[in-house]
Amino acid sequence: MTIKRMLGTAAAVLMAAGTAQAQMSDGGIKIGVLSDMSSLYTDLSGAGSVLAARMAVEDSGIAGRSIKVEIVSADHQNKADVGSNTARQWYDVDKVDVIVDTPNSGVALAVNEISREKNKVFLVSGAASSDLTGSKCSPNTIHWTYDTWALANGTGNAIVKTGGDSWYFLTADYAFGHALERDTEAVVLKNGGKVNGKVRHPLNNADFSSFLLQAQASKAKIIGLANAGGDTTNAIKQAAEFGIVKGGQNLAGLLVFLTDVHGLGLPTAQGLIFTEAWYWDMNDANRAFAKKFSAANRGIHPTMIHAGVYSAVTHYLKSVEALKSDADGKAVVARMKATPTEDTLFGKGTIRADGRKIHDMYLFEVKAPAESKAPWDYYKLRATIPAADAFRPVADGNCPLTKS
């Protein structure tokens, strides 16, 4: 019994008889969407990422050129061993050629190693860790949408420049939180800001009032939330309760997604500032995508992770088609790096030698309830961070691939 058969129903099989498919390994291209379908990250990636991948395949029109593309998906349950088992089985038994998405840095780093070992392709949209293009970079991996460094840099930079020059950090006490805090602090200091203090809170902490009071007492203009998911939303909710934003301090989220804002509601989330790579209401192409996407996804609008999956799959298919083969993962990734990217959602971009996809990033502010005209109308653009400045310079990443 193979995953392939089990997933028969979930797979989108686009088939047409022809000659081109003979060039692809095992008769076609097989894309595996490995994501969190049951827990924390379900809404911001999950089933939506499978949908985004499917839309990318349809829009590429590749089926009309007689190449068979199949999509399989699985839930990694945020467990690195489940994710790595699935990845190995997909590569070894089910002949998957490329794995996409994979939120949760722990799982993504594991799949990163397996993809390197098996010489396949790994296109990360969901995971945040900038190690994927740093010390752990791989010739088989491209980190597509965002990373911790880009978020810290975008938010830190822009806020200090617009007057938010004193900071207090609320940091989740584990590796990820520390990394976010460290990167942001560096940016704040570099731009002439100062850090009034910081407090480390445990992961999955329900009550933030005591930490928020400490932040309030620090008189810092900006309270930086170096945490994610439920910790961020609880902190924001309770900051509103304690009148922190009304008192003149602003919150800066270092990892916030559209679905988090939706879950908080505008009355609570208004005024929050953060960085993202993509927003659905920025131009007509994005809006068209969002309309089609949300209709098939319980009304949930696409996050930047979903858009990243779409963009990554589009570029992958293009490169494989040009190469006329998907067999050699390294060769495919090399080709992807050599070709400039272009798609309807992210526009034009490039991929660096360390595997970092480069595009503009945006600083958003959450609208006040009165400014919001329609459901999911949540952000206003505060600044655009040009592609050249948006990501960590190659030299600072320590990626072995970039050393001669």
Partner: protein
């Protein structure tokens, strides 16, 4: 504790049945990689060992631990760290992980055996939460990233574990060795006393047994074997992460044991294979996996308390 559905004393007939069952199991496991994906099999074997260790404590000692994830996870971290950062060969890494779990088991045991029954369960749960938070914050575990890309290396200098089939042979050997150790323990005088304590603790005390010593020893042994499973697992997957220390893992091992058959010898193995297979092959159903697991719990407790092997043994009238 008389209402726990434990095994009945093995008669000579059952003893023979158990040997036959052991041979069948070994035969199946040797043949399995030909048809089933070996990495999956190794994962199932590690969990089977974990469940057997847990069953030693619950099924034969009557002690409900809800904190066994701490041993599995700690051993995984220690052996991964030893293999990756200190460059130790796999046999020493596994040994180090097991030793760490044993030590932790001693500490847990000394605190927890002061309470009985359900309090015991809650104490172990709380202690394992402390271990979880420690692992979350300690720098060497890498937080949610875990320890990645752990080298498998050469065992004893000449067995190349990078070959999947070689690794499988090694994992199978570890599993069978530990399984036989548990089997021997259960049937030793020590195991008999343990069962006596489970059935009637005051009576065991009145017979002059130092009950707490026996319990502690059983707890430490169970922790050590759980550690062995965790350490082996970290080499198979080449990683160690927070999943294995989280309390839901402690719940999963109870589920495996209960489904297979509490206090049976082969039950935990069967239970572990079923649960791991379910997680693997139902992965596409997302949240339904947890719901199905919950439903299995409810069904097992209400209708099916003997578990798969327990029911089978009842039909065959043999303790398996």
């Amino acid at each position: 504790m008389t209402t726990l559905h434990g095994a009945t004393a093995a008669t000579g007939d059952s003893g023979r049945a158990q040997i036959v069952a052991f041979l069948i199991m070994t035969g199946l496991l040797i043949a399995a990689p030909a048809v089933i994906y070996p990495i999956f099999l190794m994962k199932a074997l590690c969990f089977a060992l974990f469940a057997c260790a847990f069953n030693l404590l619950l099924g034969f000692g009557g002690l409900v631990s809800f904190g066994h994830a701490a041993f599995l996870g700690t051993a995984g971290y220690v052996s991964a760290h030893a293999a990756k950062e200190w460059g130790l060969p796999p046999e020493l890494a596994i040994l180090g992980g097991t030793a760490a779990a044993t030590l932790l088991g001693l500490v847990f045991g000394l605190i927890a055996i002061r309470r009985q029954g359900i309090y015991f369960a809650m104490v172990t749960l709380a202690l394992s939460q402390m271990v979880y938070f420690y692992c979350l914050q300690a720098p060497f575990t890498g937080g949610e990233d875990g320890i990645q890309a752990v080298p498998r290396g050469m065992m004893f200098g000449f067995i190349d574990l990078r070959q999947t089939m070689t690794l499988y042979a090694v994992v199978l050997t570890i599993f069978l060795g530990a399984f036989l150790l548990i089997y021997r323990t259960i049937h030793s005088p020590f195991g008999q006393v343990l069962k006596a304590i489970r059935e009637n603790e005051p009576r065991a005390i009145s017979l002059g047994y130092r009950v707490d010593h026996y319990k502690l020893l059983a707890f430490v042994l169970s922790a050590a074997i759980s550690g062995l499973a965790g350490a082996t697992k970290s080499l198979v997957f080449q990683l160690a992460t927070l999943t294995d220390v989280h309390w839901s893992m402690s719940g999963e091992v109870v589920l495996m044991t209960l489904l297979g058959g509490l206090g049976t010898i082969f039950g935990p193995v069967v239970g572990a294979f079923v649960i791991v297979a379910m997680q693997n092959y139902l992965a596409q159903f997302g949240a339904w996996v947890t719901i199905i697991q919950g439903a299995i719990f409810v069904i097992c407790v209400l209708l099916f308390r003997r578990g798969i092997i327990g029911e089978l043994g009842r039909v065959l009238k043999k303790a398996l």
